[in-house]
């Protein structure tokens, strides 16, 4: 027995876990307390989750896409949901990332590169036709749709000649008199006609000016629009997106009979950056629960979007899962989504398939997605990395460094089960990583090496810190990183401060200062350089008194150095 004050004894209370849980498909295992984590947003009561849309963030290889695919697969198989995927990132250019999953579920992959559609086809209801044409115009000329232009367009669409886009442009240019005189209609229709002429005569020819009017079926479990064959900066993407979004909103949503639907935007930043499509997406988001539609947005990080839009998106998505991100991005995402500090701290250290989940305003969890074998095969995006590893196995030692760098850049997209299968290869990769690290370490530790490179001619006792020789050795080994790195870090901090992110810059400066104090000592030149940088940051933030104080510190340090040093 032990007798303690209650305040001290309270920490021994073994009350550590919660029992809050959500209904729905199994997702994985909580890394906070080991419980199983299930979630189908649509099954959660509206009071807990007002919106069902989700946002997946994470670095390359963090497993965000795998988690998104697994979720969709389980929702379709377990609950009979439907999904439309806009797949704009394929690892190999032949087909999109989602293609294997879509095919396994009996869905259809629609290749955007060979996509043609006649937006004016009689097979569409008049309303859909008008919406389609309007969104096409908005995609290329967002400013063209004035009230008058809209009226001119509406007037032209009723003309019998407007059975395809070419005819529509003709009618816009040479309208027949209606309620308004011909001159006025001609004048109003000019902007719209110019915009549409990009589809009939301009760079986007071939997409919307054919006679084909076959729309995708609305009863398939999953449809993927595969944008991977297109160039990332292709001007066709906003238009195609506009057409797809319009189809989803006006045809798919109305005709599909599934209990719930998902619209998945893979690598969504390019879709959300285009003003025309962003507006559509935002509208879909706002009406999502009413329309029984969830928007699942998968992207690398919110900073791609810029401040305003990212904030809007974060506010509208009640569910977010964030895979591994760098510390700065984690802090940014965390502040946008309102994550607690402990969760933000964990984001940079998450492993593959692990993510911080935020469900509604209060619930934050760290979850490792658990895949079965089928899912591991279907969602595997690591084929390239495997190829790199196999190539490395076959190739002689010569190009190991390049291969390793390549693999790093590709990201460790190999997901746990796959990685386990490939353990042998992983082990073989390890020595190369050692090779990369080895030179500097050897240079510092190995006395023989040191003597050759320069510095002291005799061995120093181990308790003498020989800074001069250290730098010499590093330079000698060809690793000039230290010198350039310092300047670079100062520059980065000042750059960030110039962009107005003062708090971030100050934090970075403090980190750099701490690192340099640890490396060089508190009265070192490096440390005072950091204080000067902090003073400049303080100047930029407008707190001149703080800057003066910091500069005084540096002056004091120099006096002290002169006195004692």
């Amino acid at each position: 027995m032990i007798r303690l004050p209650t305040t001290h004894a309270a920490i021994t209370a073994p009350l550590v876990a919660s029992d809050s849980r959500f209904a729905g498909i199994p997702i994985g295992r909580s890394l906070l307390d080991g419980r199983s984590f299930r979630l189908s947003p649509v099954l959660a009561p509206a009071a807990v989750l007002p919106a069902t849309s989700s946002l997946a963030l994470g670095g390359l290889g963090s497993g965000k896409s795998t988690t998104a695919k697994t979720r969709i697969r389980r929702e379709i198989l377990n609950h009979g949901h439907q999904a439309v995927v806009i797949d704009s990132f394929g690892e190999d250019s032949t087909s999109g990332e989602w293609a294997p999953l879509v095919r396994s579920l009996g869905g259809r992959v629609i290749d955007a590169a060979s996509f043609t559609l006649n937006p004016c086809s009689d097979l569409f209801p008049a309303q859909v036709r008008e919406q389609l044409v309007r969104s096409l115009i908005a995609a290329v000329e967002p400013g063209a749709l004035t009230h008058q232009a809209t009226h001119a367009l509406q007037h032209a669409l009723n003309h019998p000649k407007a059975s395809n886009l070419r005819g529509l442009v003709d009618v816009l240019v040479n309208p027949e008199a209606g309620r308004w005189p011909v001159e006025k209609l001609t004048e109003w229709g000019e902007g719209a006609a110019i915009a549409l002429s990009r589809y009939t005569e301009g760079s986007l020819r071939g997409l919307f000016d054919g006679q084909d009017a076959a729309l995708p079926e609305t009863d398939l479990p999953i449809i993927s629009f595969d944008f991977t064959a297109l160039d990332r900066n292709s001007p066709a993407i906003p238009s195609l997106m506009a057409a797809v979004a319009c189809w989803a909103e006006h045809v798919w949503q109305r005709q599909s009979t599934a209990v719930h639907r998902h619209l998945v935007l893979e690598e969504a930043w390019q879709i959300l950056l285009s003003p025309a499509t962003a507006e559509l997406i935002q509208r879909l988001l706002k009406n999502s629960r009413k329309a029984a539609l969830s928007l699942d947005v998968v992207m690398h990080t919110l900073s791609d979007l810029g401040q305003g839009r990212a904030t809007d998106l974060a506010r509208l998505c009640e569910i977010a899962h964030i895979g591994r991100l760098g510390p700065e991005e984690a802090a940014l995402v965390g502040s946008l989504l309102g994550l607690p500090p402990w969760a933000i701290d964990r984001i940079p250290t998450l492993g593959q398939g692990e993510a911080v989940w935020k469900v509604g305003p209060d619930y934050t969890d760290v979850v490792k997605t658990i895949l079965d074998e089928d899912e591991a095969t279907l969602t595997d995006t690591s084929s390239r990395r495997r190829l790199a590893q196999q190539a490395q196995e076959q190739a002689p030692v010569v190009e190991q460094k390049e291969a390793c760098d390549d693999a790093d850049q590709e990201g460790e997209s190999g997901y746990t089960p796959v990685v386990q299968l490939l353990k042998g290869q992983e082990e073989k990769q390890a020595p190369t990583e050692d090779l990369l690290v080895a030179p500097t370490e050897e240079a510092i530790i190995d006395w023989e090496n040191r003597e050759q490179v320069g510095g002291w001619d005799w061995e120093m006792p181990p308790n003498v810190v020989d800074l001069g020789a250290d730098t010499g050795t590093e330079d000698g080994a060809g690793d000039t990183e230290t010198g350039s790195d310092v300047d670079h870090r100062h520059e980065t901090v000042l750059q960030i401060a110039r962009e107005g992110r003062i708090a971030e810059a100050a934090q970075l400066a403090a980190l750099g200062e701490r690192a340099d104090i640890n490396a060089h000592g508190i009265y070192s030149v490096e440390a005072s350089a950091w204080i000067m940088t902090r003073a400049r940051v303080a100047d930029m933030s407008g707190s001149t008194s703080r800057a003066a104080q910091l500069r005084a510190t540096v002056a004091h340090m120099r006096r002290r150095e002169a006195a004692y040093g």
């Binding site: 027995m1 007798r3 303690l4 209650t6 004894a9 876990a17 919660s18 307390d33 419980r35």
Partner: protein, 357 residues
Amino acid sequence: MYSLTPGYRIPGLQRGLSPAESLVTKTNAGVGASLLTAAAITPPPVWTFGAVGAAAALVNCAPGPRSLARWAAVGYRRLRERTAPSGVFAQPGATVTWGLYLQHGTMQDDQRRAQFHAAFSRALTFAGGQARTAGVQVHVTHHATTGEYTDHTQTVSVHVPRSLGGGTRILDTMEGEFAALGALASYTPDPIPAVAEHGPGWVALEDGRYAATARITGWPEETTGDLMPKLLLGPGSAERSLGVIYRPLPAAHSRRSAKWQQAASEAFTTDKVKQASEGLASTATQASLVQGDALVDLDAYLTVWGQDPEDVVDARWQASLAADRHRIRLDWLAGQQHRAHVMTTPHGASTRKGTIL
């Protein structure tokens, strides 16, 4: 920063004497006193001293492993402790058990965790202050079922001995107090499983499980408050239960105890460093008492479970390693396994202070 520097360890004195024991003590004192008085008045023949000395030597010196006395003592203990008599875990009084779960993320967030601990501390103080004398017991258990996923079962029980009276009022009051800590729901514990088999350091229960229980005798000197989440939520392969029984003291009793503790520490500790550290501990204690907290007697037990003897022995080894990592000292209850595991179930709530385990 919490300090778990031992405030007041009283291993030998923790148990009050049972009525029979106090009767024997008093009789012994009376008989001894009368004999001594008689001897003072009329000195006995000299050989009496020799006879008494010889008898004392026989009883006290080297009875040997095969002596009759030792055989009889061990045999009696085996007989006595073969079962867990219902009286041990069913002291007269009122007991209620609830399931208590925190709000999600409480243990991960430093601020919310500190708030929870403060609230729990207030609840203990409040429980202690419900009666004029000590006796209210609060028993908290945590059971983790491991596998692909881990399931946590957490209970809080309050036991009010019959001697305090007014049990229902105290229990209802405490229910409100605990409901403020998280999600509180009524909970009916499973009946105590009977012991089917004994082994070296473990027992097999009727339901096919094997258990090994340790008393937690040492806590880390200082922690930031995340001791329990690290210990219980961290990776662990074996099924395990942890039970802590709190016996809060009323305010006046706490103050008296702190006073004596400080006096004893100042008077009897010769080691200067130890004296200084005890001085710090008693300063902390005093500060807590000034803030309105109380003192609480704390007993904690850890049980590991397995599916077969090897399993439970391995789990015990793993638990020892984990305890070392967390600077917790475990004392495996080798002889009394047949009832020790009950202390990590809600049934342990009504055990008498100092029950032999």
